[in-house]
């Protein structure tokens, strides 16, 4: 298991709110190999986004260990983490997290800006990424001039533009109609086929069922881990597959 891309062991993330401890993640362990496509499924508040932030090197666990690509993330300096997020990880946040005053194009260019890419090149790449999500005719719109689904697609284009080896998508189809959602999933499928690793958070069993593997969270614990089709229908089952 040493060559796993993501290796989390007994990961905990606790929040102390008003003297009370919220165990958002409570001893989570799993490994994800390079090139896998894994769905994280669970009810609202089960800790999916918290887990994504940890995997994405945005947050630090209360306890437990997280190794990314064999390196202990807790041992990395701030700058190294920033570079890691910039080059290796593509985020689709649950709440999009677009810059409100920037156009769709500028939003998508942002990761490339921090990569120090030339203006011309990053513009070309951002345009291509927006075209891939079908937004060629909305490139110069600001987020508040876009529909929810369009914003979500901008967020996806931004996550993909840097061709990250690890794509973390938190409910990427939550605001999309079936047809558009389907297109996005096909996009992911294509990425997966080309060898990218994808972690996709969803609360839809139907979507999780289509993933080769799914991990089910309940109250910050892993309660199911196996082929997507099985785990998706598991409901609140207790069985834990290895």
């Amino acid at each position: 298991m040493d060559d796993a891309l993501i290796l989390v062991e007994d990961l905990c993330r606790h929040y102390v709110v008003g003297g009370e401890t919220v165990r958002a993640l409570d001893g989570v362990s799993f490994a994800i190999e390079r090139g896998e496509w894994v769905a994280i499924i669970g009810q609202s508040g089960s800790g999916k986004s918290t887990l994504m932030n940890l995997i994405g090197c945005l947050d630090t666990p209360t306890s437990g260990s997280y190794r990314l690509n064999g390196a202990d993330v807790q041992g990395l300096a701030d700058d190294a983490l920033a570079d890691l997020r910039n080059k290796e990880i593509g985020f689709v946040f649950q709440t999009f997290q677009l810059l409100p005053r920037a156009t769709a194009l500028a939003n998508v260019e942002l990761p490339l800006v921090y990569r120090g890419m030339s203006r011309r090149e990053r513009r070309a790449r951002a345009e291509a990424a927006l075209a891939a999500v079908g937004l060629t005719n909305r490139m110069h719109h600001r987020p508040n001039e876009l529909s929810g689904g369009q914003r979500q697609r901008v967020a996806i284009a931004r996550a993909l533009v840097g061709e990250p080896s690890l794509l973390l998508a938190d409910e990427p189809t939550g605001n999309l109609d079936t047809a558009t959602g389907e297109e996005i999933i096909r996009l992911f499928d294509d990425l997966h086929r080309r060898g990218h690793t994808i972690v996709l958070v969803t609360h839809e069993p139907r979507l999780a069922a289509r993933c080769p593997r799914a991990i089910r969270l309940t109250d910050g614990r892993v309660v199911g881990d196996g082929p997507g089709a099985e785990v998706a229908t598991l409901g609140a089952a207790r069985a834990v597959h290895g």
Binding site: L58, A82, R85, L110, R115, R158
Partner: protein
């Protein structure tokens, strides 16, 4: 390079999004920068004017007066008033000094006059002097037409007049003025000479004058008891010696005891430069004070607005960090924003200050000249204030936690 350009573009973008707020914030900086530029432009203008005024004195020349030429700071007007007048006899006594070549004793009316012919009149702006032949040398006058006043003119008290180029322009446009009649306070004088044009310095003409023999002046226009005395040394190198001799002689004839200070003022190129430097230093210090205060106020304004900006854009900062911006990059983004904001304020201030100085020059003929260094100093100190007061907000932005930052509304 791309990074710096990106950072600056970003900074300009956010400033454009908040134009009104930016402008209000920058008031302090604008005031600071415009004060420096306006004050320094006026000081520089006065310096140039004085330099040229005294250059007209000619080499090796200096002037003796009862009144100081420039008075500044708290001064005792009565102290100068109580001084005995400089008399003609005292002036004449200087002629025997070994290193003195010319002594021009001059009676100047307190107010400028209007000169007229039957057809035309000048504005009330012509300085009329009762003088001696030595006036010509002591004041660097060149005669263009006719001749200057002679000893005979003075002895006989002839009503003759030598006019500056402005008087010629106004009273005798395109005509030969020699032999014509010019009236001063209704008294007719015959034009015997016209001086070569000396031009104007910073909007003030050097040709608005006329000289008549002092004898005729006293008879026709009344006696001015206090005289100005211009002295020319035998050679420019002898000027310091001539000056010493003049001071010693005047102290003697004016009966000063050894411990008493001079009861007259001497102006040479050197003393005027000194005098002016003192004035310039005081103006400079006052300007510096105003400026430092304005920059402090402006800087605090900038800090405040940057803190507001960091708070408002917390989510944006979180997003940038999540997408791979290093903390340093966030720091520099906010620092550059702060510097650009302040430097823009400085630029507006420079333009405003230059406008004020040039406006004062155009409206009131106050001399003004905008020194390049004042512009540079203003911009640099405005930018510097932005840098200094931007550090704290920028540091705050760069220390945010990305997850927390992205959760804020």
């Amino acid at each position: 390079m791309t990074a710096l350009l990106d950072t600056i573009t970003m900074a300009l973008g956010t400033l454009r999004a908040n134009v009104l707020r930016s402008v209000l914030t920058l008031l302090g900086i604008v005031i600071g920068a415009s004060t420096v530029v306006a004050m320094m432009s006026l000081t520089e203008g006065f310096r140039l004017k004085l330099t040229s005024d005294f250059a007209a004195l000619g080499a090796g020349a200096f002037q003796v007066q009862k009144w100081p030429a420039l008075q500044f700071g708290p001064h005792d007007h009565r102290k100068y008033e109580r001084r005995p007048d400089l008399t003609r006899e005292q002036g004449e006594a200087l002629r025997e000094l070994p290193h003195v070549a010319y002594v021009s004793i001059e009676e100047w009316a307190r107010r400028p006059e209007s000169l007229s012919t039957r057809e035309r009149a000048t504005k009330q702006s012509i300085s009329v002097c009762g003088g001696l032949p030595d006036y010509e040398r002591a004041n660097g006058v060149d005669i263009a037409l006719g001749r200057f006043i002679s000893h005979t003119d003075v002895q006989l008290g002839r009503r003759v007049i030598v006019i500056g180029a402005d008087v010629q322009d106004t009273l005798f446009p395109g005509q030969d003025p020699l032999g014509q009649e010019v009236r001063v306070r209704g008294v007719p004088f015959e034009v015997i000479g016209v001086a070569e044009r000396q031009g104007s310095i910073l909007g003030e003409s050097k040709d608005a004058w006329a000289v008549v023999p002092w004898t005729a002046y006293e008879r026709a226009l009344g006696k001015v008891r206090n005289n100005n005395i211009a002295v020319v040394a035998t050679t420019p190198d002898d000027a310091p010696r001539a000056l010493e001799e003049v001071v010693a002689k005047l102290r003697r004839v004016r009966g000063l005891a050894p411990q008493e200070e001079n009861d007259f003022e001497i102006f040479s190129n050197d003393t005027s430069a000194q005098l002016f430097d003192n004035l310039a230093k005081m103006v400079g210090a006052a300007t510096f004070g105003v400026c430092a205060l304005a920059l402090l106020v402006g800087g605090i304004g900038v800090m405040n607005i940057m803190l507001v900006s960091v708070t408002e854009r917390t989510r944006e900062i979180g997003i940038r960090m999540a997408l791979g911006a290093r903390r340093r990059r966030i720091l520099s983004q906010f620092l550059v924003e702060s510097v650009v904001l302040s430097a823009l304020g400085g630029l507006v201030g420079v333009l405003l200050g230059a406008g004020l100085a040039l406006g004062a020059n155009a409206i009131w003929q106050v001399p003004a000249s905008i020194p390049a260094w004042a512009v540079i100093v203003s911009l640099a100190s405005a930018g510097g204030a932005g840098l200094l007061f931007g550090i704290y907000p920028a540091a705050r932005a760069s220390k945010l936690d990305p997850v927390e930052a992205m959760r804020t509304e």
